[in-house]
């Protein structure tokens, strides 16, 4: 991190407030220091506490100045129209996730032409539960005109018990805020459940709720490599967010060599979640799949895993390579809704893949061939 010039601290002190100068090392520039100080003050004004307001502002600024992410300091992060609670130990929702989740809801809600009997969504590595909650909100609000909207079943899975309890708390929190209708025991409008499982566990599929078919499988798995975690990951993220949610675990001892026979997945260590996800895809056969990725190279590697044409790597999951022929593959950039260069494509292993939106490579999207018309989002 470059050193901040003392003049910047003076400016913060003079033009904004001494508190802003205190925030500067964490925020790195005047504008965001001013913004964060304002948000902290607003938060203190909006919440009740026996502690005097000025002292609370000072305490929160102090905490933030130590590098704790603002979302942990304030305890929330806006996500779409929802407010997601954040606690240390669970990854904070990112704006890129918000962008593709909102974009994802559009084709799902437009899919009402064959009048599906229900809409089932499975979210793996759900964390705060932000993706299922926002999908639910979008589906409930964008499609009220249909006479009988299909009931929505959403299930979220995470390995961390903290994440599961936070996801449930977030569901209750957004019901209390009035963003979501109360959990319906009687009316079958939607059902949202979370459960704690390891997605690598062989018994995972037996523990899922009995879905007839899955319309969408979505996942934001850990995808940062060890090297990137040390080098390109922000300090606040490294020091305060759970490593479990960021970096895939190394292969079990004894299987250190990824090409050894015991190592199940023929891919780079940071991509093992995608290998496992594609295995799950080949078994559950969802209509659509969305997997968040860490950048353009990783997006291409994941496309390679899907098509079984990655450099020298064989098909996914030892023979489950039938994913390749059954799905259309797209790569989504940070803002999939913004129209970028029209008709951008990229070739991976002799197969042309549509690229949508602008920004960095952010997600790999699969649509099952034949069953639904190819993604209706305008291009």
């Amino acid at each position: 991190m470059p050193r901040l010039p003392p003049s910047l601290f003076w400016r913060a002190r003079r033009e904004i407030s001494p508190l802003a100068a205190q925030l500067l090392p964490a925020c790195r520039d005047l504008q965001s220091a001013a913004n964060e100080l304002r948000w902290i003050r607003e938060h203190v004004q909006d919440t009740k506490s026996p502690i005097p307001a000025k002292l609370r502002v000072w305490m929160l600024v102090e905490k933030r100045a130590k590098g704790v992410p603002l979302q942990y300091v304030l305890g929330t992060q806006p996500f779409g129209h929802l407010e997601i609670k954040c606690r240390s130990g669970v990854l904070i929702p990112r704006p890129e996730t918000e962008a593709y989740t909102l974009h994802l809801a559009t084709p799902l809600s437009q899919q009402s032409h064959p009048a599906p009997s229900s809409l089932s969504i499975l979210d793996l590595c759900t964390g705060t539960g932000c993706i299922p909650l926002l999908l639910l909100h979008s589906l409930l609000t964008t499609n009220p005109s249909t006479p009988t909207p299909p009931p929505i079943h959403i299930h979220g899975i995470d390995i961390s018990p903290q994440a599961i309890s936070l996801a449930r708390a977030n569901h209750a929190h957004n019901i209390a805020l009035g963003h979501l209708p109360p959990a319906p025991q009687s009316s079958p409008r939607y059902k949202l459940t979370f459960s704690q499982h390891d997605i690598f566990s062989p018994t995972l599929l037996h523990n899922l709720p009995p879905f007839q078919k899955i319309d969408l499988l979505v996942s934001n798995p850990p995808y940062i490599s060890h090297a990137d975690f040390a080098r390109t990951t922000a300090r606040a993220v490294r020091n305060h967010e759970p490593r479990l949610a960021l970096v895939p675990p190394p292969p079990p001892l004894g299987d250190r060599d990824p090409t050894s026979a015991g190592y199940q997945y023929q891919c780079q260590p940071q991509d093992i979640f995608y290998a496992r996800l594609l295995e799950i895809v080949s078994l559950l056969k969802p209509e659509r799949v969305l997997m968040e990725v860490g950048g353009w190279e990783q997006a291409l590697r994941v496309v390679g895993l899907v098509t079984g044409t990655g450099d020298g790597e064989k098909g996914v999951g030892g023979g489950c390579g039938d994913v390749a022929g059954k799905y259309e593959v797209e790569v989504w950039r940070d803002e999939p809704a913004v129209r970028g260069k029209g008709g951008e494509r990229v070739e991976v292993g002799g197969r042309e893949v549509v690229v949508r939106g602008v920004g960095k490579g952010r997600a790999v999207y699969l649509v099952r061939r034949g069953s639904i018309p190819p993604s209706s989002s305008s291009e």
Binding site: R14, E15, I16, S17, P18, L19, A20, C27, L30, Q31, S32, A34, N35, E36, L37, R38, W39, P69, L70, Q71, Q77, P78, G80, H81, L91, I92, R94, P95, E96, E98, A99, L102, N220, P222, Y223, I224, D228, T232, T233, A234, A236, V237, E241, A245, L246, E292, V293, G294, G295, D334, E335, V338, G359, K360, R362
Partner: protein, 220 residues
């Protein structure tokens, strides 16, 4: 809160008199005017909030630092910048932490700006600015009057012994001030008008440009 209208209706209902017996129904604003003493200007309808321009005319961008994004970094601000393609107008909002909220605020701002360009004096920002300016001016005038009275009373009480001279002086002073006051009012008003109108023009700009002097003031 006392609601004269509804309580009147409730009374009528209790008395068994159907409301329709009282001749043709009176429109709401007209009815309200019978119960309020505030000037009629307040009842004048402001122009409605302008509609957002169509999405096809907007080029939206999300300002973010360079870097990998995603899980690797954790941004707190999600600034939204809109460019109106036909006019080239650019607005930016980082008022809230919420991207969704910022997108809406930016669109509101853009709509207000376009409205101001298209309708000039009749635009919502101009009319709202007018109303605010008038209110501010009348408030300033009242406060000036009040403090002048206080000062005069103090002066009168402090120097009773000098009798008529002072009285005269006061009278004269009063007259002069009366004359002066108008000039002063014009001047100060002009000064205030500028800032007030600017502020009124887009209430969100303050939020959009958050490096503001306000914070400093609050602290000291």
């Amino acid at each position: 809160m006392l609601r004269p209208l509804s309580s009147l209706r409730a009374l009528l209902r209790r008395a068994g008199i159907p409301e329709s017996h009282h001749g043709p129904p009176i429109s709401r604003p007209a009815l309200r005017s019978r119960f309020t003493t505030s000037p009629a200007a307040n009842l004048k309808q402001l122009p409605p909030r302008p509609k957002h321009p169509p999405e096809s005319e907007i080029e939206e961008s999300f300002l973010k630092g360079s870097g990998p994004g995603g899980q690797k970094i954790n941004k707190t601000s999600s600034a939204v910048q809109l460019k109106h393609i036909p006019t080239g107008l650019v607005v930016k909002s980082q008022a809230t932490r919420s991207r969704t909220q910022n997108r809406k605020i930016a669109r509101d701002l853009l709509a207000l700006k376009l409205d101001a360009i298209a309708n000039g004096d009749q635009s919502r920002t101009a009319v709202v600015g007018d109303v605010k300016r008038k209110r501010a001016a009348s408030k300033a005038k009242k406060s000036r009057r009040k403090y002048r009275k206080l000062v005069d009373a103090g002066a009168g009480a402090g120097s009773e012994g000098e009798g008529q001279q002072v009285e005269e002086g006061r009278e004269q002073g009063g007259e002069e001030e009366e004359g002066e006051e108008w000039e002063v009012v014009e001047e100060t008003e002009e000064g205030e008008v500028e800032t007030e109108a600017e502020r009124a023009q887009d209430p969100e700009t303050e939020r959009v440009q958050p490096i503001e002097v306000d914070n400093t003031k609050k602290d000291k």
